[in-house]
Symmetry: none
Subunit: 400 residues, 2 copies
């Protein structure tokens, strides 16, 4: 019996409410007084650390740096080593493309093909506006094929997402991308017996694109890679009997949440909008995933001061969460993004949990070293969900 | 290779002795000065914490509240997610019914059936004395059937345990209990091909009960559920080469210990009797499971003061253990039972280990927050057995 089986068996729907506030990439390098979290003035977050119990959570396992996908899956109670999200799906989600259970998606490049050879894999990095025009043109002119719907969605410069909708598509396809220039384009090849239909549809699409774009000076062909389907993943309703809501304003996180069956609520682009949306939807759900992006963006930029400022900008909103009196409030991150490393890292996430059922330890600050001394100790992020459910009294006893 | 395989390969019998003192449900909510363990005056337990190393043990996994069965299995070195004890077995053990390897047991209700329908699933909650009389009557009057032995054992009010002894009984049976009133009784149905024999025996028994009890005003039929066999589980002798003894005075814990092949020694009902029995049997065993129940009972009652008193009542007996000079002494619990929650909980168990091979950390009290800062850190209870064996020098080196 594994955690998922346990969860299905033991979880129960109750009136209690859980808020999981993910401060994306908030953790930095452990340091006395010099991590971003230690440098920030954040009285409200520190008060939460005092009021509850703290620890450190490793997203996947010690030493492993996760992408946003596996890091979030773990926080939501899914084994990030069991469920893998294809690149095509993540690109699609990140571009705000809706992906359903009959959809096959892939990352695309517009390319320049001359005399049957790929002359430029990026079509001279055409401007994004060009890309938008070309995608509109394709969506209008691509020949209709019986039982198949195809759409392309522009990304930045030469990048796009292709979405194929049909019954019985298998994503076991090799990339339709030679990965180098000066060679002929390659078709997608089926890697499993059931993938022949998908390969035929994809390759006909590539021919159609070349025909429709034949007159374009640069973007006259398409390359596709990372074919992926909507992953077969149980919803949070199925597993945990939750009625979950995602309060996020970036497409990637909204898309991820939708994959897990969360209701993605309407949120504006400002930080305050997150808390407006939380309040507005409070009565309709029992689990709220609130995603704050600015800490991660500053970390990715290597901007220590901006990351400190992002923490300080979030802190005044904390009382709007506590005023709602959630039964369980967790503040943590999906992964760390130390500004010193300018990207995601493997460093464990500071983690705090406040609940009437939790008691309190003697940690007085929400920061790396402080949390390392907390009652919860060090654990993997996949334990966050059982902990939240338990503290909300949503998990029945195991065995007699 | 998993822990069980390692244990079989590496464990060795030696003269060293281990005492595992389980203070049932002793853990509460982490708190500064206000958990039951923090409020109790317990100089001897605190001296042990000072003399050894401490940590926090999660019975099954973080967030999961265990029943006594899985929680004890974990402490004894068995994966509680691999070995599951059926309700019928636990009910039988809890009632002091002996269960052998050819036995199939089930939980029973006496019920009232009128005009072919279940009129009362609990036979009007007949008094326990009535139940005792009816069970004696049944055991005397049920017709003897070739190759099968059946006995019923009275519980409280309308509850009983039925035990069927025969070769080749399979417990894959549906409940013979419609679970609601106003409908006809249902027979047990085989859920696997091998269970037809058991179903036939069980259903003939139900007919026999109805015939023998036909004249009873209330308890004129039986309902059965939770069919279970003695689980297929290796003994502690097999796995760990121990000669283990259980020093416990509640039937459930004695039964569990017997399942694992422990010798259950004779113990009276008082706390002092545990330590008399420990001393008396000291020379005959090398592993002693000592079970103290009062802390759990007080926690279940939600009685903080009574739980504090139960800890204080145990503390003076600790020197009787240390006087025996065990090579390894562990004090912990199977699960926490915070009086604030009036029941088992998922909170980790304070854990202390004293041994010449263990050294000492700077934890000076046996309590939740103190142990959270100990050398052993946070771990799952299934690690208790390898730790105890190691510190008793009963585990050889793995690999070269």
């Amino acid at each position: 019996m594994e955690w998922e089986d346990l969860a299905r068996e033991l979880s129960q729907q109750t009136e209690s409410k859980i808020v999981l506030l993910v401060c994306d990439g908030v953790g930095g390098l452990p340091a006395a007084g010099r991590s971003e979290l230690e440098a920030a003035r954040k009285p409200n977050l520190d008060a939460l650390a005092k009021a509850g119990v703290c620890g450190l959570a490793d997203p996947v396992m010690m030493g492993v740096t996760p992408g946003s996908g596996p890091a979030h899956l773990a926080l939501f109670g899914y084994d990030p080593l069991k469920y893998q999200l294809g690149r095509g799906i993540l690109e699609a989600l990140g571009s705000g493309v809706e992906v359903g259970r009959n959809d096959l998606v892939a990352r695309g490049n517009f390319a320049t093909v001359r005399a049957g050879l790929v002359a430029d894999r990026r079509a001279g990095r055409i401007p994004t506006e060009e890309n938008v025009r070309i995608c509109e043109h394709l969506n209008a002119r691509l020949p209709r094929r019986e039982g198949v719907e195809v759409r392309v969605f522009p990304g930045k410069e030469h990048r796009f997402v292709a979405r194929f909708t049909a019954e019985g598509l298998d994503d076991a396809l090799s990339d339709a991308d030679p990965q180098k220039e000066g060679t002929a384009p390659v078709p997608a090849a089926p890697l499993a017996p059931g993938a022949a239909k998908a390969a035929a549809i994809v390759n006909r699409f590539l021919d159609d694109v070349a025909a429709v774009l034949g007159a374009e000076p640069k973007a006259n062909a398409a390359l596709l890679r990372g074919f992926s389907k909507f992953p077969s993943i149980p919803t949070m309703r199925d597993l945990f009997k939750l009625r979950p809501a995602a309060v996020a304003n970036y497409p990637m996180y909204k898309g991820l949440a939708k994959l897990l069956g969360m209701d993605v609520v309407q949120v504006g682009g400002e930080t305050a909008d997150l808390f407006d949306a939380l309040e507005k939807n409070w009565d309709r759900h029992d689990f709220f995933y609130v995603h704050y992006k600015k800490t991660d963006s500053a970390g990715e930029d290597g901007n220590f001061a901006a990351k400190v400022a992002a923490v300080e900008a979030l802190d005044p909103f904390i009382p709007r969460i506590t005023a709602l009196r959630p039964d369980v409030l967790v503040v943590t991150s999906d992964h760390s993004t130390p500004s010193a490393l300018r990207g995601h890292s493997w460093h464990a996430n500071p983690f705090l949990l406040v609940a009437d059922t939790a008691g309190a330890d003697d940690v007085a600050a929400f920061a790396e070293l402080a949390c390392a001394k907390g009652y919860l100790g060090r654990f993997r992020s996949i334990s966050a969900m059982p902990l939240m459910l338990a503290h909300a009294l949503k998990l029945r006893k195991y065995g007699a």
